[in-house]
């Protein structure tokens, strides 16, 4: 039977959480599509392939120095080889940094249609229907792929990881690699040093809605001080240089889970939410009633944070 193939993602010998989420999706939708769930692991040896076999019935292992580290050229060549030799119809990827680098190239390599950054996959009449956010999560759309082969990538955290115990088989696949045009020199830590906000009990997080660095200081930093907590920001705040990079919360920054997270002037983009949705109590203040942050907050205030926060602060 043709396969629905999960592409494993790993760094420093550790599988990403997203890989296990993809295993769940593959096992869930493959039967309705008349496919068998499988995974492919590209690494220097087959240790991780054996690990992935705990979560999915069949694993193809490409163990080769050419794919010891991720590169778009190396991975897309390996995927093409597995797709062609193992009768693969669909490829599932994580919509992560490596996934974004890879997905479009894989679609071109195997002549497939692609729908990226999805958060739901359902089978309707033998057809895969994919749901994804648009307009910063204010709306969603559904799409399906017309081509014989398909590539789909999924938002991190959209599904729970697969349960272990699959007892899958590992099959070695050899690939003759061509040119790999990007050369990885090293991986560096950019937010090294600086404050560690991950242990704070209370975090006041500010977003674009703070308007400028002075107002950020006046509202967010002073409230954090009053509450005896830390302050943090979403990506636009760091990009604008209002606060240091070590205080960024979200996909490209820190993941935090304090007792109380106050999200001020934060729209609730998926990238930011990924870093703070585990907080015990979330308070959102935003003037836009449709801001997605209200979907994950415990308490919400639709209003001008420059009026609400001083009033709140005065009562503490």
């Amino acid at each position: 039977m043709a396969k629905l193939l999960v592409i494993a993602e790993h760094r420093d010998g550790k599988l990403s959480e997203g890989t296990l989420e993809l295993c769940r999706i593959a096992k869930e939708v493959a039967p309705g599509l008349g496919l068998e769930p499988a995974a492919a692991v590209f690494a220097k040896d087959d240790a991780l392939a054996k690990e992935v076999a705990n979560y999915i019935p069949e694993v193809f292992s490409v163990a080769d120095g050419a794919v010891e580290l991720y590169t778009a050229d190396g991975y897309s060549q390996a995927i093409k080889a597995v797709v062609e030799s193992q009768d693969v119809k669909g490829v599932l990827l994580a919509h992560t940094y490596d996934g974004v680098d890879l997905a479009g190239k894989v679609a071109m390599a195997i002549d497939a249609g692609i729908v990226s950054n999805c958060n739901k996959a359902e089978v309707d009449g033998g057809k895969l229907v994919l749901t994804r956010n648009i307009y910063n999560g204010k709306l969603q759309e559904t799409k399906s792929i017309k081509t014989d082969k398909f590539v789909v990538s999924f938002e991190k955290g959209a599904y729970d990881p697969a349960e272990s115990g699959a007892g899958g088989a590992v099959t070695a696949v050899s690939v003759s690699f061509g040119d790999i045009r990007t050369k990885v020199k090293e991986v560096i830590e950019t937010s090294a040093g600086g404050v560690d906000i991950t242990n704070a009990r209370v975090i006041v997080g500010g977003g674009r809605g703070l308007k400028d660095g002075d107002k950020f200081k006046e509202v967010v930093i002073s409230l954090a001080q009053k509450l005896g907590g830390e302050y943090a920001g979403s990506r636009p705040v760091i990009d604008s240089g209002w606060i240091e990079a070590s205080r960024q919360v979200g996909q490209s920054g820190k993941t935090v889970a304090p007792d109380l997270y106050l999200a001020l002037g934060v729209s609730g983009a998926v990238q930011h939410v990924a870093g703070m949705k585990g907080s015990k109590c979330i308070v959102a203040v935003n003037k836009d009633p449709e801001a997605p942050i209200f979907n994950i907050a415990t308490y919400g205030i639709v209003g001008d944070l420059f009026e609400v926060i001083p009033a709140f602060s005065a009562k503490l």
Binding site: G104, I114, L139, K146, K185, S252, I301, F312
Partner: protein
Amino acid sequence: MKIVVCLKQVPDMESKFKIVDDKKVDEAQIAFKINDFDNYAVEAALQLKEKHGGEVVIVSVGPNRAAKDIRQAFAMGADWGIHVADDAILAGDSFVIANTLAKAVESIGGVDLIMTGVQSEDLQAGVTGVMVADLLNMPHCTNVVKIETADGKAYTLNRELEGGLNEVLELTGPAVLSIQSGINEPRYPTLPGIMKAKKKQLDVKTGADLGVSADSRVDFIKMFIPVADSMAEILEGAPEEVADKLVDKLKNVAKVI
């Protein structure tokens, strides 16, 4: 250096999005602007041009209204552009758009570097730039947060990864770089820049002019307002009143302050 920046006009994400016929949004209530990520790409291209000489060409697929923001990039300092204004192409998927952009780049000829934003703010697919690279048989790097090149051919790039990590990698151009926000501080157009922009060359083309087909590989089904799994308990009232309510909730219900 001849640098192409692929630019998309997008709605301001704070706009009110009202769905019409389950398939499009009502544009009457939307303000349009340059995709934020593309703005960083324009700035990065202008900085390379200032260092190595050459020209910056804007390529955009969009309806007629997109011309305003192509000229905005001209006002920042880009030299000229190609605007593919074709409804059939515009209705296409990432594959159709990537084909169109690739053909437009080929029509320019002799391009050393292509820059795009990491993704568009409205659709957040993040695949088009990578497809353009593949179609033109160029290497690519996505989520670029630092660009170093001494000669405009060999590049050392920082690719952003999760949790504050960067991968430092090398490649040789021509290449496609998808630019992450925060890499630079995009300049604002100056008044003389705005005046000059009005006279800069903007070639308007169709898919047929470029020889691209509008055949998508993906079917759009519908768009809708998401149903939230849970919704915040909204505290209502004047600022003083909501402040009281919030203090009460946090102290006595959530017990977190």
